[in-house]
């Protein structure tokens, strides 16, 4: 499989990453370390919150999305990282046992003026559960190196 370079991104193209299951143990372990609020730690306490049951920390959802994108795109590409994220919406709770996929849609791309060896690819990243519901909606600019001269597409 050939590596994915800046040139290979097509505006409007859609890529799916995953699936991956998230377990109750993972949800509680992440929350214990990073986000020890009741709705992420304990089923009974979580029932009394707006989320009406145990759900993953929003930052855990983001981390899971990152892993799906790493395995489904970044690690097989010329990715040079990202300067940030434009927006993250935690649309629906992520529950124990959910089967997650990420849908990446290329929104736009442009060459970098200051760094001619790379370009910016703006993508929408939506994470979905096993019912096809969007649980996380985000948009981010990724930096990707251009194909080296002489390398075949």
């Amino acid at each position: 499989m050939s590596r994915i370079y800046y040139e290979d991104f097509v505006v409007g193209a859609v890529r799916t990453c995953g699936p991956r299951v998230v377990t109750r143990e993972e949800i509680i372990a992440f929350a214990t370390e990073f986000d020890p609020q009741p709705m992420h730690l304990d089923e009974e306490a979580a029932q009394k919150t707006m989320l009406k049951g145990l759900s993953a920390s929003g930052w855990h959802s983001c981390a899971l999305m990152m892993r799906l994108i790493a395995d489904g795109l970044a690690l097989n590409s010329s990715s040079m990282g990202s300067p940030g994220v434009e927006e993250v919406k935690w649309v629906k709770p992520v529950r124990p046992g959910d089967v997650l996929t990420v849908r990446l849609t290329v929104l736009e791309k442009r060459e970098s003026k200051s760094r001619p060896e790379m370009g910016l690819v703006r993508q929408r990243a939506e994470m979905l559960n096993q019912r096809g519901e969007v649980v996380l909606d985000s948009t981010y600019p990724g930096m990707f190196g251009k194909r080296p001269a002489g390398e075949r597409p």
Copy 2:
């Protein structure tokens, strides 16, 4: 110490959370699980990237910020969570040994129309390192319950 309710937020007020040290082991452990890209996993490989050395995954930075906010505000408040984040900028790399604090600034607040028992508090959350440099800049709306009738401020 009395709990912090929606009524207690004052536009323009600043709160500091932390500090907390982030270690090399934590950076590599998070990256191994969620963001296994070379700049977050291995010092030698990281030297060859734009970040010029090992640095925390941007999502690890977000998770560390969340923990600082949980301990410094959310767990001692009527926080009901957040629907998302408006923007996250990873301004500077977070390095092993960095001492992190979070500066929260109240930007605006308003009562919820649909849920009279709560209000929304929009805050800017900046994470800083030991040199006072902003490493992460973000803005997010938080949902906070109002003070129950009869409870003294």
